[in-house]
């Protein structure tokens, strides 16, 4: 083993693969940590000793550990080691090699994944191994996967009798794996007519199911876009809908929230996973306070002049943008995704929902519900509703309208800040972040009906889903244009949006 490691450490990248083949052939599953470390790009070579070592980051410090024994090597410095580099080709090889080794792993899920990984690379050796393992496999799922692999092998053997192959094809037709579909597509060009028709039938059967899942997938995309729109516009629904203030700086409140996330992660670089939980209240406070400040300094002097709040807040948005540009530079800032939010929830081979979007969807709904409760059940909410319906009356009843205005605006802005935390997980954190959402937000609020939170919810999801279902046929740009034109026409038909306020009070 050791001479091979020396070779590995000193080889040029293009010579590495044959060495890895030899390492794989010469060893058992004990080589797994080596391959894994190499795959992650953390394998280093100690030239002086002819040994390899794994590097990892613990609380910001570089630590070296022996790959096989996991013992920490404190004697090594950065200069003593050279990185063993990998490229995509090697990564592909490593992944397959690990799968081959893991076919006999203890955990059934690892075994199943290994089998699925190998579906696309069914060479004779692998098939032989699988055939040996199949009869003794106890876990149902793993056995199914192995059966599928063997069926694929059978189906692709042109030398076998068509009846055997057709039976194998039928077995394959219950699978949604893309490798299965690719194989079946190849089989439709087979010499045997019976095989061709069986493959076609199987493909059709699979296609039906795939289409069903594709629909679910698209629906999820729509809901996810809707949740982003909801988050971006819900703060506006309060400042614009309840207070009648056209806050052009709303987008910048979102931006502040996103930058707050960045700063929080900067302060606690080793606790990225928890940073979101700190960032949410922090962003709420930062944007909320900024909102209160803007309300007290500018907006409270513009009561009853809604169109002029537009101009003043536009000025504010310019100032805020330039402010972050000056403080944080015009470059985008890096916000990391916590590990629990990365990746996706794989329901089956054709349907997987990305976790971050799933969380954001849930988060948007949660924010919405909390907001509704705040407005319906708390005394602040009561005051807010009273002021929005009849300012003078509320004043006469002893409501401190100034205070309520400041709090309402702060609440709306704070929620925009929270939206910024969510958006920082999806898109750029830069000075232009807010700009890209402001128009969409206004569309959502107007479409839903000003002053109606439920309307905002329905409008956000309607627009999100509509956009996503239009996109495949029209392309992203045309879909956006069509949605805008639709809103323009819709407002002509129903000038007060989906859920208008009715009766004399609305006049």
């Amino acid at each position: 083993m050791d001479p091979l490691l020396v070779e590995l450490g000193e080889a040029k990248m293009k010579d590495v693969e044959p060495i890895l083949v030899r390492i794989e052939a010469a060893s058992d599953d004990s080589v797994l940590p080596l391959f894994r470390t190499l795959l992650e790009g953390n394998l280093y070579y100690i030239e002086a000793e002819g040994q390899v070592v794994g590097q990892s980051d613990v609380n910001g410090e570089t630590v070296y550990k022996d790959v096989f024994t996991q013992q920490t090597r404190t004697d090594l410095q950065k200069g003593d080691v050279d990185k063993i580099r990998v490229n995509n080709k090697l990564r592909g090889y490593l992944r397959n090699a690990m799968a081959r080794i893991q076919l006999t792993a203890k955990s059934p899920s690892v075994r199943e994944n290994a089998v699925r990984e190998l579906l696309s690379k069914l060479d004779d050796d692998t098939v032989e191994v699988l055939e040996g393992l199949y009869p003794n496999e106890t876990n149902k799922k793993v056995k199914e996967a192995m059966g599928l692999a063997l069926a694929m092998n059978t189906a692709s053997q042109t030398g076998l009798a068509p009846s055997n192959r057709i039976a194998a094809i039928e077995k394959m037709s219950t699978s949604l794996e893309s490798d299965v579909r690719n194989l079946l597509t190849r089989l439709t060009r087979d010499d045997s007519a019976a095989v061709v028709s069986a493959a076609n039938a199987a493909l059709e059967k699979i296609a039906q199911r795939v289409n069903r899942f594709a629909f679910v997938d698209q629906l999820f995309f729509g809901l996810s876009l809707g949740s982003v729109l909801l988050l971006a516009s819900i703060g506006l629904a309060i400042t614009f809908g309840v207070m009648g203030v056209i806050n052009m700086a709303h987008g910048e409140m979102i931006m502040l929230g996103a930058y707050t996330t960045y700063v929080v992660q900067l302060i606690m670089p080793n606790y990225i996973d928890y940073s979101i939980w700190v960032a949410i209240p922090a962003a709420f406070l930062v944007s909320g306070l900024m909102g209160v400040l803007i309300e007290r300094l500018v907006i409270c002097r513009l009561h009853g002049r809604p169109l002029e709040t537009l101009l003043a807040t536009f000025g504010i948005s310019l100032i805020l943008q330039q402010l972050v540009r000056t403080i944080f530079s015009p470059l985008n800032r890096q916000v990391s995704t916590p590990s629990w939010m990365s990746g996706s929830w794989e329901i089956n081979p054709v349907l997987s929902l990305t976790l971050n979007r799933l969380y954001i969807l849930a988060f948007a709904l949660l924010v919405f519900i909390v907001l509704v409760i705040v407005l319906k059940k708390t005394s602040l909410g009561l005051n807010v509703r009273a002021v929005s319906q009849n300012r003078n009356m509320a004043k006469a009843m002893g409501v401190k309208t100034n205070w309520v205005d400041a709090m309402t605006f702060g609440l709306g802005s704070g929620i925009a800040g929270i939206a910024g935390v969510a958006l920082s997980q999806l898109t750029n954190v830069g000075p232009n972040l807010g700009q890209s959402y402001i128009i969409d937000s206004f569309m959502v609020v107007v479409f839903g009906g000003v002053g109606n939170l439920l309307g905002t919810l329905v409008a956000a999801f309607t627009l999100g889903i509509a956009t996503k279902f239009l996109e495949p046929t029209t392309g992203a740009v045309l879909a956006a244009i069509l949605v805008l034109v639709f809103i323009i026409l819709f407002i002509q038909k129903r000038p007060k949006g989906l859920f208008p306020q009715k009766g004399r009070a609305a006049e």
């Binding site: 500018v298 169109l307 000025g315 310019l318 000003v450 805008l484 407002i491």
Partner: protein
Amino acid sequence: MKRLTAWFSEGRSTGKHTLPFVVILLSVTILASAANLLLPADSVFYVSTYTITLLGKYLCYAMLALAVDIIWGYCGILSLGHGAFFALGGYAMGMYLMRQIGDRGVYGNPLLPDFMVFLDWKELPWFWLGMDQFWFAMLMAVLVPGLLAFVFGWLAFRSRVTGVYLSIMTQALTYALLLAFFRNEMGFGGNNGLTDFKEILGFSLQADSTRVALFLITAILLAVVFVVSQKILSSRLGKVVLAIRDSESRSRFIGYRTDRYKVWLFVYSAVIAGIAGALYVPQVGIINPGEFSPINSIEMVIWVAVGGRGTLIGAVIGALLVNYAKTRFTAIMPDAWLFALGAMFVLVTLYLPKGLMGLYGQLKAKRNSVMNKESQA
């Protein structure tokens, strides 16, 4: 007495700035042009072509501000989409200038503009036909914005979409057009827009004399638009328009079909914006979808707010002043000019709700209040 009353009610106060404005505008323009063409470049009074082009651009913006003011200051319709009409007028002119290039484009194709050649288009799209004729292109420069304003206005005003809703819808309109013109498939040159113009009516666009001529034409047209708008707004129609701004429902109850008045005024305003756009393009040398961006349209509103809405002269002064400030600021403090610009908007809305003209009016009113009282008695 009667005749006096009639005269009073027709040529009232709003018109008093017209004559001085036209005189100053035209004399400054003519002086600047003469200084550019006749004086040697090293003379102290020489006006560089850069300045001429810059002034020409400002005047286009002033005309655009006039259009915004007519609809916002006088009728209370806050349009956040006037950039769309401006840009459409600009595109009509741009298409004409594009066709004028003829076979002098980089690919030497006599019919197709360069961007169509490298997108591999085989023939001219239908909407480019006829654009090689100056009169037709100019007709389109007013017709297309006018038509769009008519359709949009007819739909919106008839359904009584007002106030904030209308503003947001106009914003949506210009945003939708922005996205559409960005698409290369649309046949308007995508993000790059139309540029690299050579000639207008056979005159080279790079010649000083052409630039000066364009500048003069812009000034004259601005004066014409100013006078015509002044006349319209001081007619009874102008009073109806003001009435609609103050109380639209009352105007309806005394028998005015306010939707038609609003559509009419909206179209008029859009046509002016279109003309401004058509004049703008040959002077700055490029038209691209950026002109449709909602931010631009908001900026126009701000020019008017700074100058003072509800007075035509205010709109012009606002446009000139803000743009001049912008030019200066970007040169003097490139890193901080957005602070200055933003602060200016906030301060003007807070402390000068009627803009600079309002401030001027207040100062004058204070001084004259005593005199007025005497004359009334």
